[in-house]
Amino acid sequence: MKRVVDVLAPLILIALLLGGWEAACRLLAVPGYFLPAPSAIGAAIAARWPELLHAAANTLVMALQGLGVAALAAAALALPAALSPMVERAVRPIAVGLQVTPVVALAPLVVIWAGLERPGLAVAALAAVVAFFPIFSGVLTGLKSADPDLERLFDLYEATPFQRLTRLRLPAAVPFVLEGVKVAAGLSVIGAVVAEWVAGSGTTQGLAWKILEAGNRLRTADMFAALALLATLGFLLNAAVGGLEREALRRWRGR
């Protein structure tokens, strides 16, 4: 019963909001280019469904490519940083610098480097840039998160550095890495959309381009249609990664 309520509550709220929106648009006769009614947006989604779905898949693929690259790079840098304080001191400012630099400011450069004819590469690269820090931070924190008394136990039994890494630090890092990947997955979509926006070329064929294109033609309902798909994509990705995280943690804890 509680589960049903948990699922229904947000749906009911969304339905109420959409209903209010629809009623307001009709009663106040708001022009469609300014604020289309939900029914008009629904019609736009239905009319362009295959096209929008294809665009959403493109955005998702580019974001996930970025996420994968970010995970590999973050692990490759965080591992030596966790083992050597000197490496950590050297790497951390650069990693933080990358994190605090707005992706919008980096995007034009990356688009130039990737080549204007290959915007998909730029999009994936920028998705990787924004996804990097949460994973890096998760791996680094996780590798150093082992219980100090467990570390003492490894001292006591004279564990080799390799044993300490594989039998203590890596398994202890798992929850932190999962959390980092979850945050990074959401960010990678944002990074992909921003990059697509800056690249501003139709060759990427992602959702951001759909919004941009519809906006240029003042087809506001189509803009909302792409936006709705983008929000749904983000929501589903978040739910999927969250589910994977919970399942992985359950196995990690052994129940």
């Binding site: 219980d147 008394d149 003492r152 006591l156 039994y157 564990a159 203590l168 804890r253 052994g254």
Partner: protein, 244 residues
Amino acid sequence: MIAELRSVEVDYGRRGRALGPFSLGAAPGEIVAVVGPSGCGKSTALRLLGGLEQPTRGEVRRTVGRGETAVVFQAPTLAPWASAGANVALPLELAGVADARARADAALERVGLSGHGDASPAQLSGGMAMRVSLARALVTDPKLLLLDEPFAALDALTRRRLVEDLHRVWDQTRPAVVFVTHDVEEAVYLAGRVVVMTPGPGRTAAEIAVDAPLPRPEGFRTSLGFREAVAAVEAALALAETAA
């Protein structure tokens, strides 16, 4: 002596002196309890005995070899990602022993947890987790067993049962045991010798011998000898606190 601290002092930088000068030895097969107020450095003394830390001044002598010391900490300190059996087998696996899991199962049986090898730490109660921790310490058949307030977080009934179990497993191989606690009755019941420490930086305030066989005979808790020893330790503690 299996392990011995000789006039050791430990300074922790800005926090200042944590321990000492303090001397403590553990002879083969004896059980020593160390009692003192919190912050007196008793856990530090235990880590020195285990060779996990070095004193700022003084000398630590250990005649135990590699893997012959075991420590049980205040918390069970089990790896949450590994089963109870894998946790117990860890010391053997780190040393590259072949039949680690079989010996781990035997150690679990010694602490009354046979058949729980596949349970994950999250499924265990506090008392059971502490037993697993004890099994992990016993699995290497240590000559020196160091316990740092291991039962402090458990309820009184579980504690008493664990103390009895500790005596029983100790009696099988008779390692030297150093047991740190702030519970006077637990110290007197467990140990043949109770060392009372002053408030930090800890020194020896008194040493009280408990004159009764180990493991304790039935009804020892209500005997006159037990009550007198408890009173003596409590008096020494009170005296050390007022003198500080």
